[in-house]
Symmetry: C2
Subunit: 160 residues, 2 copies
């Protein structure tokens, strides 16, 4: 990875091109992430055990559909703006400097949304487990990931 | 952990009491971390797969002795102030918003130092491997950690 070697072992994330939106979900569930831009910081340094994203949420955008992981710990730190955590307990404002954490296997679907009219910046950290199962309490979606394969299905296991 | 339950799943790190300095090293090597204050953010949320520290370095303080891990990926993001990365390549200034990453097994000893006269704040992320061996190129120290046991020795294996 030429990109990584040139910058090793430090970098200004602004020099990376962000990835806009998501195509991981079936089309009907993608809109919530249209205003999400991610810079993948961990992979640039050849990290393989956890991922780190510098994520910017435009007004109205979310990090993901509300979900929880069977196998991967997750952590979020708000760098600027005010984010809103949505989980089973309701909504909690997270101003800059606040953080949130979601241990693997805790069945509390969560997402971070920007309910304000200014951009929100987050650092997101997540383990890279070899296999995982991701649950989405609000929508008819289930994601199973094994070694080298990811599969989005309806909750009854049928394909999209 | 009552502390974790009360705050779950989000918190203002300012509400946590920082841990000052380190006692993990033999006494002769501790001074470099005297001005280091850490708030352990991952453990508060019961995360076990990686650790997250909000670390403040007073002028002159460092995150650690210069080291590298055989088993654990590490990542650092500068929140405020200007940090200096010290590694085999020399010294690199990391202003707020810059980051650095150190994959497991890369034999390039590194530490982050505050060479300025103002505090530096960092987010530090590191995998929690079950076992690890940590190398210190500048000093006569070797650290081996297995399940539930850590052992600091001289490089020839003799005890401190």
């Amino acid at each position: 990875m030429a990109d990584a070697r040139e910058r090793f072992p430090s970098l200004d994330p602004e020099t990376l091109t962000p990835r806009q939106g998501t195509t991981a979900y079936p089309p009907a569930f993608r809109a919530v992430c249209d205003g999400r831009a991610k810079r993948a910081l961990g992979t640039v340094f050849a990290l393989t055990q956890f991922g780190v994203n510098l994520t910017e949420l435009a007004p109205g955008a979310a990090t993901a559909q509300r979900h929880w992981h069977e196998a991967e710990d997750e952590f979020v730190y708000v760098l600027s703006g005010t984010a809103t955590l949505v989980n089973d307990a309701g909504e909690t404002d997270l101003p800059a400097g606040h953080c949130a954490g979601f241990p693997a296997g805790r069945a509390d679907g969560h997402m971070i949304v920007n309910r304000t009219e200014r951009p929100v910046r987050l650092l997101e950290v997540g383990t890279r487990a070899q296999a995982d199962r991701i649950h989405y309490p609000d929508i008819d979606l289930f994601l199973e990931r094994g070694v080298g394969a990811a599969r989005c299905t309806r909750k009854d296991g049928t394909a999209y």
